[in-house]
Each structure stands twice: as structure tokens, then as C-alpha cells.
């Protein structure tokens, strides 16, 4: 088959999905940076391919993964790539770099990952899933994030360029410090302790009032994603949503991470997403929370 005969959908799929090496890799933690209520976990990944923005990895600590609260964690945990710093010596090569992941200590798995220190071992499987696709010609990119869900928007901004409009929502001031992961973000907080008091979707509504010729890229808690989806549907603005779901494997094996599709049946967040076109869903369901 010649290149011109490749179906458009297949070509798009290839563009946004970088294949993972088969099997998990043992990486070394290079740093754990504090970022307000969050941590940025950084690990050297000399054999890993540069991920597409929006892709994720399954993470587990190499030591003491288990035996925490309720004899957990057991399964690996899914995290979006928040950044990828290509190795200087291999800048022309897509292989090798430092992977960054954004963590919040909310359960036994994230707690253990937050305990990691420089030099510790980290199991990584990835990059996995389908990432973001570029805006249609002429549309500007509007990045909308909430809480720890800002992570994939940071690496997407690295690709799109710093002039991208970024709107972020957080619970409070310490969480809002996470906005430093991106450039020139406008912030809303629930309690008004940083940025505007209110919801990030308030900011999004105003931004679309000003100029709706945009493609929206959103990641955050289910209620936020549903509000973004509804707003964009109402204004006929294309939106790509990076979903989260409880997930055992990350590569389509367990069928555990499904969400209902608009046209019936389910899609697997791990292989059909995590980034999906908003029109694929009737609504973003409220119970996507992963076993964290």
C-alpha cells in the first residue's frame, strides 16, 4: 500500500500513538521536585521512546510496592507524561530522555510513589494509549486543566508552543502552585486563594465568548470534564478530553477501564484513549476514579 492509500484514520492514529517497548523497564529516579501540593517525579529513561503528548505510563515503585494501607498498592498506577526532556546526546533520536510525572498523594499507590527519592528504582511501562491531535487548521489551542489533570497539558504545551491559552482550576492555593508546570496559565480556585474564585469552566466560557474558533484540550476530574464537554457541545467547539479511569493493565488486557460510548458499547480508556474526541461520549461519567 502506498502512503497515499493509507486511510486518514490510520495515519492520525500513527501520529498520536508512540509504541511502547514490550515489557516494563526499571528506571532510576533522578529527582522529586516539590510543586505546592504536588510532586514532580523525574526518572531517567535511556531506552524509552519520546511519548506523544497525552500518552501515559504505568508506574510502580521497584521496592515496597505493597504492604501499605490495606496491604496495597498491588497494581501499577497510570500517569500521563507531564514532560519529556530528550537526552542531549541523542537530541536527534526519539529514544532516551527524562520522563516527568505529576503526583498527588491521595492513596496507597500515589503515597508510595511520593516517597521515592533520587536513585530509587521505578518500574515503567509505556508510552501507552492515544494522545492529542493537532488543532484543525486555523483554530487556536485552548488548554483546560483541573488539579493533577494538568499533567498532559504541560507536555502538549511543550509541543504547541508557549503562546497557547491555558486555563487551570484548583482546589486552593497550595494546589494552584501546580500551575507553574505550564507557561502563562490563568488560574481559578474553588476558595479564591489564588487567581479567580470559581471554576475553570467559568474562564473557559469567557474565553469562548471572546473567540470560539478554537480546539479545546481538557484533562481533569470527571465533573470538570463533563462541564467542558457540555460547554463545547453547546458552542460547537471541537474538544479532546484526556480521560482517567481505574485501570489494571494499561494495554487493553483487562477490559476494566471502560466508559460508555455515545453509539453504544464501551471504549477502553487505555487503548482507545486516554484522549478521546468529546463527541464519542454522551457524557463523562462520575465514577472514573482510579484505585490510587
Amino acid at each position: 500500500m502506498s502512503a497515499s492509500e493509507v486511510p486518514v484514520s490510520a495515519a492520525r492514529d500513527r501520529a498520536e500513538r508512540v509504541l511502547a517497548p514490550f515489557g516494563r523497564r526499571l528506571l532510576t529516579v533522578t529527582a522529586v521536585d516539590e510543586l505546592g501540593a504536588y510532586r514532580v517525579l523525574r526518572a531517567a529513561d535511556p531506552d524509552g521512546p519520546m511519548p506523544a503528548a497525552g500518552q501515559f505510563a504505568m508506574l510502580a515503585a521497584a521496592e515496597r510496592w505493597g504492604g501499605g494501607e490495606d496491604e496495597r498498592p498491588y497494581l501499577s498506577r497510570a500517569f500521563s507524561f507531564a514532560r519529556w526532556l530528550a537526552d542531549r546526546r541523542s537530541r536527534r533520536s526519539p529514544i532516551g530522555g527524562e520522563a516527568h510525572f505529576l503526583l498527588e498523594d491521595v492513596g496507597p499507590g500515589t503515597h508510595r510513589l511520593c516517597e521515592l527519592r533520587t536513585g530509587d528504582g521505578l518500574w515503567v511501562l509505556g508510552p501507552l494509549g492515544a494522545g492529542f491531535t493537532a488543532p484543525e487548521h486555523g483554530r487556536r489551542a485552548l488548554l483546560v486543566g483541573g488539579g493533577v489533570g494538568i499533567a498532559p497539558l504541560a507536555i502538549w504545551q511543550d509541543v504547541l508552543g508557549a503562546q497557547t491559552t491555558v486555563l487551570l482550576g484548583f482546589r486552593d492555593g497550595p494546589h494552584a502552585e501546580g500551575a507553574a508546570l505550564l507557561s502563562d496559565a490563568r488560574v481559578a480556585t474553588d476558595d479564591g486563594s489564588a487567581g479567580r474564585r470559581g471554576l475553570v469552566t467559568d474562564l473557559l466560557g469567557e474565553e469562548l465568548d471572546r473567540d470560539s474558533h478554537a480546539t479545546v484540550y481538557a484533562c481533569g476530574p470527571p465533573a470538570m470534564l463533563e462541564a467542558v464537554r457540555a460547554l463545547c457541545a453547546e458552542r460547537a467547539v471541537p474538544a479532546q478530553l484526556a480521560l482517567e479511569s481505574g485501570m489494571a493493565c494499561g494495554f487493553g488486557a483487562c477490559f476494566g477501564c471502560v466508559v460508555p460510548k455515545r453509539d453504544g458499547g464501551y471504549l477502553r480508556v487505555c487503548v482507545d484513549g486516554p484522549v478521546v474526541d468529546a463527541t464519542q461520549l454522551d457524557r463523562v461519567e462520575a465514577h472514573l476514579g482510579s484505585p490510587t
Binding site: F22, L75, A248, A253, C254, F255, C257
Partner: protein, 302 residues
């Protein structure tokens, strides 16, 4: 390391548990690297039913102490869809293909078995008997007399090896294994998942609540899983698996496929030591898709 199993010559004794590895999806994630280092000596498909199934409503997973509870609900395209769409993908594997089937009556199962018998790509059939009888509501595999009748009724429809996947949710798994053998099974595999459930975390938790399960033994309670109850796997079940595999291998003459919580070559070796001919890796593949290869290599080197 090669091992003979029901007339199949396998490169090593490690296969996968049904429903724990999806080859087409793994090819999307890993590309050709999957086929270059395929971790299993034979591949067992997910459960195929006569009609398509969408599977259970989410949530479908709960992380248990040192384990996983799943309530997936056997999503599959149905027999016709499997033969048309899945089989061409699976037949590209360079290992024998075992197709797992389930039906709620002997007639349904015989129809599935016969369809598999006619396809050269399929080397053997595994029968999932953790399915309620439509009349009694009891799992076909939990009652030895019923299990023997069903296996005996299906047996003539299949010239290929027939493996019966036993349920651990019964009073006497060795008696069920004996019944499968008496019905004409060529092998048995165990353990399937242990029936389990999880409740939605209380209001103090951050997790939002799904609606209560609509029916079943947990109606009215805030069951977390969309299917109500589920099945437990992983390290939490390993000691149970060892006891049940030992009991079954001590009872029957046909080969036994042992599984349940295997995470290392040492765990696999224990099941082989108590009489299993093959071992299957399931939940550990979720944590590391190459686990089967790592375990097979460990067995080879030990």
C-alpha cells in the same frame, strides 16, 4: 523445557489465563515487539459466547489487599464475530491457540465446540463452566453431577483436546475435576477467580458513589462493582490455588493447568511440583506484560 500437553508440543510450560491478555490490543500498544517476544507457549482466548456481550457496566475493577477484584462480564463479539474478526488476528501468533467458550446449556456449548472444531487455526478448546445454569441458577461447574453431564454432552462435538476450566467456588474441587474427567475432558485448568465483592467507600472517602447494584446478592448495598460481585485474583489467591491444584492433581489422571497468583518462577515451580503440567499467568501480566516470558526463563534456569 519443551512440554507435551494433550498432544500439543509447547516450547515451555507457561501459558496465559483466559481473559487476561488481549492480543489485538497489545499489538496496538507494542507493535511487532509483541510477536517477537510473545510471552506464552500457547495462547488462551478470552471467553467466547454464542451471542455478543457488551460486558458489565463500570466500575469493573477494585484493588483488594494484594489482589484485584474484577467484574468484567465477559465482553466478546460472539461466536460469529470471533471467527470473522478475532481468529484471523490470533492465528498470526506463532503458538497454538486455545479458544475458551462458555454457554448456559449443553446444547449451546456443543454448538460453540463444534464451530471451533471446524477451524484449523484452533488447537484446543477450553470450557468455562463458571456460568449459571439458566434453570437452576447454580454454576454448571460447581455441581459434579451436572458438570459430568455437560462435559459428556459436549465431548462428541469436539475432536480436539477439551480443557475444562474449573471454578474454585464449589464444595469439592477435586470431585468436580473427577467429574470433568469422567465426562471426557482431556485436561482441567484451575483456579478461576474466587467470588468476591467490594463496597463503595463511605461518604468520608473522596470517591463518588455509583448507584447500588440493581440485583443479586448485594442488592440494596452500595456495591462498588457495576456487576454487583466479582472475582478475586492476584497474590491474594496464591495459597488457595496451590491447595486446589494439589487436590485436583492428586485425584485425576488427565493433565492439570495450574494458575492463581503466579508472579515468579518460584510460584510457578510450586504448582508444577504439586502436579500441574502447565501453569498460566494472569493478573501478573497486568503488572508486566512480559511476565510470562520472565517466568518461563526463570523455570528454564532453575
Amino acid at each position: 523445557m519443551s512440554v507435551s500437553f494433550c498432544g500439543l508440543e509447547l516450547a515451555h510450560p507457561v501459558i496465559n489465563g483466559s481473559g487476561t491478555f488481549d492480543v489485538p490490543a497489545a499489538r496496538r500498544a507494542f507493535g511487532q515487539a509483541l510477536d517477537h517476544a510473545f510471552p506464552f507457549a500457547a495462547f488462551v482466548s478470552k471467553t467466547i459466547t454464542l451471542s455478543p456481550r457488551a460486558g458489565n457496566p463500570p466500575p469493573r475493577l477494585w484493588e483488594a489487599p494484594a489482589g484485584l477484584i474484577n467484574s468484567i462480564g465477559l465482553p466478546n463479539r460472539g461466536l460469529e464475530g470471533y471467527l470473522e474478526h478475532d481468529l484471523p488476528e490470533l492465528s498470526k501468533l506463532n503458538v497454538p491457540l486455545i479458544t475458551n467458550v462458555m454457554g448456559s446449556t449443553a446444547e449451546e456449548i456443543a454448538e460453540l465446540a463444534q464451530a471451533c472444531d471446524e477451524r484449523g487455526e484452533i488447537a484446543a478448546v477450553e470450557l468455562n463452566v463458571s456460568c449459571p445454569n439458566v434453570k437452576t441458577g447454580l454454576d454448571i461447574g460447581s455441581d459434579p453431577a451436572q458438570l459430568e453431564r455437560v462435559v459428556a454432552a459436549v465431548r462428541p462435538a469436539l475432536r480436539k483436546p477439551l480443557i475444562v476450566k474449573l471454578t474454585p467456588n464449589c464444595a469439592d474441587v477435586a470431585a468436580c475435576a473427577q467429574a470433568a474427567q469422567d465426562g471426557g475432558a482431556d485436561a482441567v485448568s484451575l483456579i478461576n477467580t474466587l467470588r468476591a465483592m467490594a463496597l463503595t467507600p463511605g461518604a468520608r472517602g473522596r470517591r463518588p458513589s455509583p448507584p447500588a447494584a440493581p440485583s443479586g446478592p448485594v442488592a440494596g448495598l452500595r456495591a462498588w462493582l457495576g456487576g454487583g460481585s466479582g472475582g478475586l485474583s492476584g497474590a491474594a489467591v496464591r495459597a488457595v490455588a496451590l491447595a486446589q491444584v494439589a487436590a485436583v492433581a492428586g485425584r485425576v489422571a488427565i493433565p492439570v493447568v495450574g494458575m492463581g497468583g503466579i508472579q515468579s518462577a518460584d510460584h510457578a515451580r510450586q504448582l508444577l511440583d504439586v502436579g500441574a503440567t502447565l501453569v498460566a499467568v494472569g493478573t501478573e501480566s497486568f503488572r508486566d506484560p512480559a511476565a510470562g516470558e520472565r517466568i518461563a526463563r526463570g523455570l528454564r534456569d532453575s
